[in-house]
Symmetry: D2
Subunit: 343 residues, 4 copies
């Protein structure tokens, strides 16, 4: 078995700060605020020093956790939360109302779970060309907004960051909003989490390989990124299932008497929390039972990768969920960027 140190080099990066830490475990230089509105949970993490235990870049990380976005009421409430948080983030970055915005939709339009960025940007209200025509006086309640769908490197042969940098050089926006689908490191977050941050984003970390970062450091203007985990890789599914397997045993053992007439597939143990003892784990899962969650992930990654089976896992109704999520994001972005959008 590999030792902790060795694991690092293989570690699959998670894009979600919420996967990284126990929010009760306070630390100097990390500010945490939590907030719940109806069924929506908002976690704000501010990392104030470049060197920190989370190994994350300095910046604000806002994690919005929600339930089923295909429900009308949920989606309206969610939209409102995103507007509020996005405006706060823009304020904290001191972005004035007259600042010009470039909205970038990262990802691959042809792959359903990776199409979130392009689908969202297609619904963003673009005004820059009106500002460019001298004879037109644009209503100042509509910000100067341009939009870009750079495509994926596999199709263009060009790094997204090169495309974006090239365009920034020419049109000189004041800040960037980038939307991307992410890979989740947990089944529980898929299509149920939005992360907004001013610390940058790696295009293509969702479905394809890591690419050059888009951030203040690389683009020289503020970058707000909005990411939604829409897929998990197969190795995450398998290792998460291992944990649920243990939970399932624990739950069914304890509730045997109560449940014996309930069909197994209807015994929802999701919120059950008793940990199995180490001994029980080993009995059930042998040596695998001795590994930490992270170690199991690494192991399964090592099992699936050489045989080419680290596939993509999505909910069955992914196309419908992507439609709704992109609609919510686009509405929220429009309302945050354009004062008069809703009127």
């Amino acid at each position: 078995m590999k030792k902790e140190k060795d694991l690092k080099e293989y570690t699959i990066r998670t894009d979600l700060i919420v996967d990284l830490f126990d929010i009760n475990q306070e630390e100097e230089g990390i500010l945490v605020t939590e907030n719940t509105q109806e069924d929506i949970h908002i976690l704000e993490v501010e990392i104030m020093k470049e060197e920190n235990k989370l190994h994350k870049k300095k910046g604000k990380y806002i994690t919005i956790s929600y339930q089923d976005v295909t429900d009308k009421e949920n989606s309206k409430a969610l939209e409102q939360v995103i507007v509020t948080e996005l405006k706060k983030l823009m304020e904290s970055l001191k972005i004035p109302e007259t600042a010009k915005c470039l909205v970038v939709g990262l990802g691959n339009r042809a792959s359903t779970p990776d199409a979130l960025g392009p689908k969202t940007v297609e619904q963003v209200l673009v005004t820059r060309y009106l500002y460019e025509i001298e004879e037109i006086e644009v209503d100042q309640n509509y910000r100067n907004v341009a939009a870009l769908i750079p495509g994926v490197t596999g199709n263009t042969g060009i790094e997204s960051s090169d495309i974006i940098l090239g365009i920034i050089d020419r049109i000189k926006p004041d800040f960037v909003i980038a939307i991307d689908a992410l890979a989740s490191s947990s089944m529980d977050r898929i299509n149920k989490t939005i992360q907004m941050t001013d610390s940058g984003i790696h295009p293509g970390s969702g479905v394809y390989n890591n690419r050059k970062e888009l951030s203040y450091e690389t683009l020289k203007i503020p970058v707000i990124s909005i990411g939604v985990p829409t897929v998990i890789e197969a190795f995450v599914l398998v290792s998460d299932t291992m944990q649920y397997l243990l939970k399932h045993f624990s739950y069914n053992k304890e509730n045997y008497q109560k449940n014996k007439l309930v069909p197994v597939t209807l015994r929802n143990y999701k919120d059950y929390n008793r940990e199995l003892s180490s001994q029980e784990k080993v009995k059930l899962l042998g040596e695998i039972g001795t590994l930490s969650e992270e170690q199991v992930k690494e192991l399964i990654f090592e099992v699936l990768t050489p045989i080419g089976y680290n596939m993509m896992v999505t909910p069955k109704e992914i196309d419908f969920v992507m439609d709704k999520t992109s609609e919510v994001l686009a509405n929220a972005i429009n309302k945050s960027l354009h004062k008069n959008f809703d009127i």
Copy 2:
């Protein structure tokens, strides 16, 4: 742990006969022929009695196994094999050259891995409306062919079988060819297997629930179904991975010395075959190590279903693979139905 008998009731049906049996294990009433052309393997199984060990319906089952369909040469060879096998199947059903065909594309156009049927049918050469116009004399080298994409029950509110039966009643075709995406019961078959059979098909067994069968019994005309496994459910991925985990250990143990400088993720052990001993299995996987492959599948199904996590697993490049597979299928169907298609 559930006993063999109990397992049956939960068993997730596989649509692929090739998953069901050991072809060396001959049995009365089951005729097996094998054949390999270049990299394509053809398995013909004829089940001659309604009562049989495989619990499958009487009929011919042709399983074509192939490699990467996105490779031009592979896809050409595959197309030719399908033409040959489809024509043989039509002959064995005594379908004359003048018989009218209804081609049906089952599945959901909006879900990439389930869109195989609709995508294929869109490329089929349809001629029936020419035959219906009295003044036109149709070249008899083009068969009378109609096409139908019935949609999925979730969108139409109507069983596919009801739509198809209603149309058969009105247009009276002589036989049906139905194309559908299937769920695979093994990672190894996904997008690498085509099954053709004259024994019928269950619309929607790929991504959604089972529906009423389309077969000679229900439609009263011969039905040739062509199915391609394009997704696996999460429980299959997890249980397959368990088997690969054991293989991975076995391989790495035996080849430790040879491989120690090769990165773990490059050690391809796929074709390695030494079984671990029961003792080794228990050491590694505890009680799980004592279960049969099928038992592990059932168990994982029971773990994932109650918490709503029995997701859909596809290769990352699924949209591209679907484009190519539907093209190969449509070409093969066109060449099999229309004498002059290629000229």
Copy 3:
């Protein structure tokens, strides 16, 4: 020049009753009501006898005329008008709240201006499959609704009416709502008119050839059809332009002094109404100037058809307009069919 009588045989049928008559010209057996709400004009025509001057079938014809549907406010007002009129039509047909509905989207999904029916039906709330599952008790505020997109004969080889009849035979709905794109006989109506009628519809009259009628007579249940003119054929464009040419001359002659500094392309003469004298018409357009509007249409049809140039004319932003129109129609249908849709 052809005589009036001869013209009839070539006459291209208009699907819009509003094209056919001068509403001031009252007639026995034809009831006309007009109504304007904000910018939306509603014309209800009831034809009470099978034999009538308009050569149209007995029935109610509701024509809703509106402005730009891509404007948010317009589209909301329009949606409300459609709901009101559709409900009135259902009431007049004595369709009870428990009546089962089949919604049919006619037309070709692959042709932007002809995709209105399919696009609308994709957004209709379908419930029939819930009603079919015995164990589920469906909220009676949601009607039993099924949906069908039959495709076009060119792709399926089957008449739409055969597909629909086949399905009606099997699922026995109580009434049908059919949505289709129409060909307009005037540039002014394109994407600015909705016609609802209980007298039936001819699938495919929009972009392709006439097909068998869908009506009470053929389906044996009430049929409400909703049609929107989304294209005009080239011959209509040309002949309409001839009329505008005359208007343009008349206007510019009369307003020469006033306009001489206005660029020609900005002189909007659309609402200008002085007719040119016959003499003026002949001076400008020669023998063509002596023809009636209808005769010009016939003539241009005769000019374009033999050389295969009777093309399809659409506004440049047709894809966007189709998105919005289908959204308005689907919302209105959902609200009319399902009591609780909006809550």
Copy 4:
């Protein structure tokens, strides 16, 4: 009536050189070669001086005229002609086999007739990212190719030329191939002509407004543009029809006896060539009959523009034609760029 000189300012530019001149009318500094292969006609025009009678830029203009591209044989022959001509053009520009290419698909993906560029580029074989990875040694028979779909200004708010220039700055290709749908100035050319030139292209001249030119002068590297007329504007249709109207009269007058039993809509007069006398023209069309073709175009443009009716005219089967045309173009580009593409 406007005088010749005044007309100039309104003149709608044609993108097709073939519309501009009578090839028999030789001129110094303009080299013309013609060539016919089966049904495909190739016209090469080389303009050798910046100042020339055609008011076109210096450069090579290759016009390929063909029949129905949806016919398999035609499309194969056409593909071969494009490969030959494109290679010749690359040679004449002294583009070496190792030169890096950026392929640009201009136009709007959401508008069927304007989607030619994006659809073609999606099928181009991209290799640049392989060349960028140090460890990979790329087969030199595959050229370094990148691809870009910049979108349209209406959706991005950015001029296509700015996007392309920005990217050229960063990835430094050696030459550009740009594909765009054009507006035709004649019904006869629509989907039947390909123009290739090294003199540059104006993005968006097809369906939207003129934009900044892409050419050697603006990009500082060779630009090969490939344009296909896929739409005509309404004013072209109307004025072309006027000419056909005259032809139709002339033909029917002369062939009255012969044709009197043939239905009018079947009398194909397309290739009939007798000109009517001026007197006959005036008799039929009045003052309009005295105008030149170009003057009629200007007039109709002036009639349709102020009332917002200068619509878009396409063949009815445009979606299918676009599929086939983009396939032919992409194949031809791939074969021209990559030595080993076909092997």
